[in-house]
Symmetry: C2
Subunit: 338 residues, 2 copies
Amino acid sequence: MIIDCHGHYTTAPKALEEWRKRQIASLATPASGPRASELRISDDELRESIESNQLKLMRQRGSDLTIFSPRASFMAHHIGDFDTSSTWAAICNELCHRVSRLFPEHFIGAAMLPQSPGVDPASCIPELQRCVREYGFVAINLNPDPSGGHWKEPPLTDRWWYPIYEQMVEYDIPAMVHVSTSCNACFHTTGAHYLNADTTAFMQCVTGELFKDFPTLKFVIPHGGGAVPYHWGRFRGLAQELKKPPLEEHVLKNIFFDTCVYHQPGIDLLIRVMPIENILFASEMIGAVRGIDPLTGHHYDDTKRYIEAAALDSAQRQQIYEANARRVYPRLNVRLPL
Amino acid sequence: MIIDCHGHYTTAPKALEEWRKRQIASLATPASGPRASELRISDDELRESIESNQLKLMRQRGSDLTIFSPRASFMAHHIGDFDTSSTWAAICNELCHRVSRLFPEHFIGAAMLPQSPGVDPASCIPELQRCVREYGFVAINLNPDPSGGHWKEPPLTDRWWYPIYEQMVEYDIPAMVHVSTSCNACFHTTGAHYLNADTTAFMQCVTGELFKDFPTLKFVIPHGGGAVPYHWGRFRGLAQELKKPPLEEHVLKNIFFDTCVYHQPGIDLLIRVMPIENILFASEMIGAVRGIDPLTGHHYDDTKRYIEAAALDSAQRQQIYEANARRVYPRLNVRLPL
């Protein structure tokens, strides 16, 4: 079985985007804005948006199940206030839930949180609880920078974030650390901000002692861990200067990397550097990089091809494809008995 | 000959730091602060600080010449105003110049600029001119984020920066794109901010058309290019989505990567992915990562060992060690005839 731990609903019917535009147009006068109930998307529309996109590619490429969350770049937590994000997150999560009910063998949900800059993360708990209890979601996406490229919240190791971690630990769900659209002109969203956030979050964990307070807390760092595996020697050396234990002990019981690295040399490095048990299969399909690589004739984001071609034995491949995901996302096993 | 294109004067005599502390303590009342002339460091002190540190390691490791600039983390352009930076840059550049005169075979200067947040980069031109004309410096360090982790300047492709580029092109000197200390708690300086800046600057160049306006402009992106080589497929794919030419045409005539990647797998990836003519030998010694790697028994930043062990023939190694640097830093050839 092949589990893709990183998929977003990037192909939702246009009505969703239209609703969001109306919400944004009414930020100053929310009462005149659209109500959640005004968004109407039929099951047929949902089916069509999935069958002709993600599911088609999953079948072509041979993956079975995608952990599916709302479109990352559309979370845009920097827009409006907590109420804006709260309504928007509820809508987006519900759509992912409906997709997972329509295609229960192929999609299972991960929640977007109703984060808002400067707002206590505890405000996200009710939506998180609803997604896990009512929708059977198996994870959350946690945005370390709801400001959208201005980085105004405290580091992830700060007690500011602890209410979310307490709930995660209670439910035994991991967080994928995933930012949203950059509204800072310096940072291209998918070409800089995403990768920077991955590197930043990892280094915050190296600097801090978060996993002493939460020994079972789990973070998935997407996009192959940003710059981390390529600079693994640098991070090992910095941890040493900071008098931390070796990274295997200090953070690798709690931090995992996905395989959203879109060329063979990158995947080969990831696999050479990181323990196999810390690598989770993912493609972020359909996402940031949708084209076909002229060097290979295949889609950049068809990451299964790179895993197949990498120097792995079949047991290691099975770990990356399935076993690690079941360990990091224990609630998967409720839906998918071994 | 082995040229290390990335060294900072991290070992300057304590008097420099003391002077800077007094300057910072007097920001509100600069008239009561220290004058530049109050900093007194003898040639013997300079010699000692270099011979027992950088030069000792250069001899041990077998590199010949270091392109030497003021300590990056101490540039701290976010502190004070233009006058603060101006005095500080002049002092730091002069010290590098004195080192290069004391050890003319081993050190040649690269200038720190007196940048200050929100201040027109044209204000940096006089210091730049002085360093090239009077000191024989061969490059500059350009900080894309003088705010120190808040990223408030426009992207490097914006006309805001053009006065510096015009002068660079006239002098035929490259800029190493190098940030300084992060004063944003989210970003560890050497474990996140530096790498993020490298990735960010590269993606700014991919998004923009800077090298159409300045076909001979050259940027060196340090720390192995941040996350870029590891995610080369992603960047190729994003350029394709942006309808840009292949990256080789679009940016690789103008952008070069150093080898400050502190483990063998990282260097192997860099060499596998990037054209050899875009790779410049560097170690950033003595810098961020000073320890000994327990896995190898050698210093993390002894990057020559990785180059020696990489799958390169001797002609390629000579390109990385010397020929590329002479091409990217043409003023080197004035001092060092072929």
